[in-house]
C-alpha cells in the first residue's frame, strides 16, 4: 500500500454527483472540502475531474469463505475485491467451515480483516449452532467479542423453525442486534434448482417457487413486530416479497431488506443455456420480478443493495447444472450494475445510491464509522467512481480469487477509480494498492 499517512487532496470530484469540489483527506478524516483547496506539504493530489465521490460502500452480505474454503476466497483476497468495488466495509457471512457460531471464529475473521487492511471486515454471527437450525448459537458471546457482532444470520439456510426464529429475534434485542433471514421455506424448495415458472417447466429443472420466499418473509415480519425486534431480509428476489415488505413497513414493522445487483438485472431465461454461472440462491427470477425489485429499491421498500458475493472455484461451476454450486461474485461489479439498472434508468440519484449502498447498510449493521457522508470531520472513507468509463466484465481479470461472474462479457457503464479507507488509498487509478 502506498504511503498511508500522507494526506490526499482530491481535486474536482462531484460529491453524490453534485457540483465539483476538492476533498482533503488527512489523518484519517475529511479535513477540508471546497473549491481550490491548497495542497498541504507532502500531500498527494488526485485528479478526480468527472468522477463521482461517494462515502465508502458498505456490504451487508459478503461471503469471504475463510476459514474453510480458501481455494475460493480468503479474507485478504475478498477484502481486496471489496476495495476494488469501492467498499470500505463488508459483512462476512457465517457459513464458513467451521461456521462462525462462536466468539473464536468471528474474532479470527475480524482479525484477518484487520491484518489485510483493505476494508473493515465485520463478521456476521450464525443464529444457530452450525447453521443447524436447532439451537441458538452463542449470540451474546459473539456480540461482546472483539468483533462486536451485530448482524446474525444462518444465510445459506433459512431459520425455518418459527419458534427458534422468534427466540433469535427476541434475544438480539439485548445488544441492538439484527437477524438477517435467508427466506426459503425448506420443504417447498427440496431439490429446487431454479425459479419455478415457464422456464423451469420447459427445462425440466425442479422449481423454486416465489411463495417459498414470500411465506417466510410474511411470517418473520409478523414475528418481528410481535416481539418488537429488528428484522433484516436478505436478497429479496420476488415481486411478492416486495409487496409483503411494503405492507409490513406500512403497519410499523421494523424490517429492512436488501436486493442483490444480479437480481436487479438478470432473469431466469439465462438458465436456458444450462450454464451454472447463472445458478444462485435465491434463483434469478422473471422480468416482472426485476421490475418490482427496482421499484422497491427506488421507493425505499428495499433499503439497501447487498452483493451476496459468493465466490466458487471453477470446478464447482464447470459441471452439469444440478451438481453445480450456487452463487456469484459481485463486489467488483455492484456499483456499475446499480448505475446501469437504477441511475441510468432515472430511478435513483447518486445521493440515493450513497444511501442504499453506504449509509443504510452501515445503519442496519451498526457500523458507526462508515456511511457517514462526505462532510468535514467525517471518517475519510471515500470512493471515486467514473460513471462514463464503460468496462467489459471479465471474471479472469478480477481481483477476487474466483471468477464466477454472471456479467461475463457484458459491458457495464462505469468503474471505480479510487477507494480510500480512513484516508489511505486501497485503490488508486483503478488499481489495487
Amino acid at each position: 500500500m502506498s504511503d498511508t499517512n500522507a494526506p490526499h487532496l482530491i481535486r474536482g470530484a462531484r460529491p453524490m454527483g453534485g457540483d465539483p469540489v476538492d476533498l482533503l483527506l488527512a489523518d484519517g478524516v475529511i479535513a477540508g472540502t471546497g473549491r481550490g483547496l491548497d495542497a498541504p506539504e507532502g500531500a498527494r493530489v488526485v485528479d478526480a475531474t468527472g468522477l463521482i465521490a461517494l462515502p465508502g460502500l458498505v456490504d451487508l452480505h459478503t461471503h469471504l469463505r475463510e476459514p474453510g474454503r480458501e481455494d475460493a476466497e480468503t479474507v485478504a483476497s475478498g477484502s481486496r475485491s471489496a476495495a476494488m468495488g469501492g467498499y470500505t466495509a463488508v459483512h462476512a457471512m457465517a457459513n464458513t467451515d467451521p461456521v462462525a457460531d462462536t466468539a473464536g471464529v468471528v474474532e479470527q475473521v475480524w482479525r484477518l480483516g484487520r491484518e489485510a487492511g483493505y476494508c473493515d471486515v465485520r463478521p456476521v454471527g450464525a443464529v444457530t449452532v452450525g447453521l443447524g437450525g436447532r439451537r441458538l448459537a452463542e449470540i451474546g458471546a459473539m456480540a461482546e467479542s472483539a468483533a462486536g457482532v451485530r448482524v446474525f444470520s444462518d444465510d445459506g439456510v433459512c431459520v425455518s423453525d418459527a419458534l427458534l426464529m422468534r427466540r433469535a429475534l427476541e434475544y438480539v434485542k439485548a445488544f441492538d442486534g439484527v437477524v438477517a433471514q435467508h427466506a426459503q421455506e425448506p420443504r417447498l424448495t427440496e431439490g429446487a434448482q431454479m425459479n419455478e415458472g415457464c422456464v423451469s417447466d420447459r427445462l425440466g429443472l425442479p422449481g423454486w417457487p416465489a411463495v417459498a420466499e414470500e411465506a417466510i418473509i410474511a411470517r418473520d415480519c409478523l414475528l418481528a413486530q410481535h416481539v418488537g425486534s429488528r428484522l433484516h431480509v436478505c436478497h429479496v428476489s420476488t415481486k411478492g416479497s416486495v409487496d409483503i415488505i411494503r405492507w409490513a413497513k406500512a403497519r410499523g414493522c421494523d424490517v429492512t431488506a436488501e436486493v442483490t445487483p444480479h437480481h436487479l438485472l438478470l432473469t431466469d431465461e439465462l438458465v436456458e443455456s444450462y450454464d451454472p454461472i447463472y445458478k444462485v440462491n435465491p434463483p434469478l427470477r422473471t422480468a416482472e420480478d426485476v421490475r418490482a425489485l427496482r421499484e422497491g429499491l427506488a421507493d425505499g421498500t428495499i433499503d439497501i443493495v447487498a452483493t451476496d458475493h459468493a465466490p466458487h472455484p471453477a470446478e464447482a461451476k464447470e459441471t452439469e447444472w444440478s451438481t453445480a454450486a450456487m452463487g456469484m461474485v459481485g463486489l467488483e461489479t455492484a456499483l456499475a450494475v446499480v448505475q446501469h439498472t437504477m441511475v441510468d434508468t432515472g430511478l435513483l440519484t447518486w445521493e440515493d445510491v450513497a444511501d442504499r449502498m453506504s449509509s443504510a447498510p452501515a445503519r442496519i449493521g451498526r457500523v458507526h464509522d462508515h456511511g457517514r457522508g462526505l462532510g468535514v470531520g467525517e471518517p475519510a472513507n471515500v470512493v471515486l467512481y467514473d460513471p462514463a468509463a464503460p468496462l467489459e466484465v471479465d471474471g479472469a481479470s478480477m481481483v477476487t480469487k474466483s471468477s464466477n461472474t454472471p456479467f461475463q462479457g457484458m459491458t457495464l457503464p462505469g468503474r471505480v477509480r479510487a477507494t480510500f479507507l480512513r484516508g489511505a488509498p486501497t485503490v488508486l487509478e483503478g488499481k489495487i494498492q
Partner: protein
Amino acid sequence: MRHLLSTGDLSRDEATLILDTATELAQVGDRSVKKLPTLRGRTVVNLFYEDSTRTRTSFELAAKRLSADVINFSAKGSSVSKGESLKDTALTLQAMGADGVVIRHSASGAAHRLANWVDGSVLNAGDGTHEHPTQALLDAFTMRSRLGRLEGLRVAVVGDILHSRVARSNVLLLTTLGAHVTLVAPPTLLPVSVHTWPCEVSYDLDTVLPKADVVMMLRVQAERMHESFFPSTREYSRNYGLDAERLARMPEDAIVMHPGPMVRGMEISAEVADSPRCTVTEQVANGVSLRMAVLYLLLSGS
C-alpha cells in the same frame, strides 16, 4: 444441425426429414444383410450415466447397422464412478476421437453441457426430467406408420407429465408436426406453467378418451405416492389407469402407446398392454430405424 438436444430445436421440415429417413431405413431390418456401410470409420460413444439397457441397446444396434464403431461407456465400473467430472469425461472422449456421443444422464441439461465440451455431435438420449428427443421421434414415427398421418391427429399423453422427459419432447415435436396434444394427469403431476404450453390439459381421462386417436400412457413410479403426488396407487389407477373398459371407449382405430418400461396394473392393465392396439413392441422396433436415421443425418455429412 450438429446436435440433437431437444425436439424444440427441430423445424417441421427437419423433423419430417428424420421420419422419412427412418421410413427408408426401416427396410434394412428385413434384408439378408442388415447393415449399411454408411458410417464406416466413425466412432459413436454411448455415454450412459443411468441404467437403460433398452435405450442403450437400441442406439448400439442402430450405430452398428450403419457400420460405426461403438463404444459403451457406462457410469458403473468406469472412471465416472470414481468421481470424474462430466467435463473431464467429455475431454477424454474428445481425445479418443468420438464423432458422436449419445448421452443419458440424470441431470437435466447434461447433454447441453456436453455439447459445449466436445467437437462431435451430441445426441440426447434422455436428460433428467428435461427431454428424450429420440423417444418422441420414434413415437411420432409409430403414429405416422399406424395412422398414416400426424397432421390433425389427437394425441392424449397421460400420467406423470411433471417428471417426464418423454412428455416434454412429445409436446414440442407433435405440435411442430401438426398434431393436437392433450395432457391428462392429476394437477399435482402437471407443471405449474402448463397452461403456457402449446397443448390442452385435462384432469379427466374419461372425457378425453373418446376423442383421442392416440393415447400415450406414461410410467408412474410408485415412489411418487410417498411424495404425496397422489394418495395411493389404487386411486391413481382408478382415475388415470388404462384398462379394457376404458380402451373400449376409445375410437375403434385409436392406438395405445407406452414408452416403456410399463408398470402393469398401475397406469396400464395387462389386458390393454397385450392388446393388438398397443404399439409397445412396435415402438421398440421403430426405435432402431429412427435412431439410425438420426445417426445418419447427424454424422454422415461434412
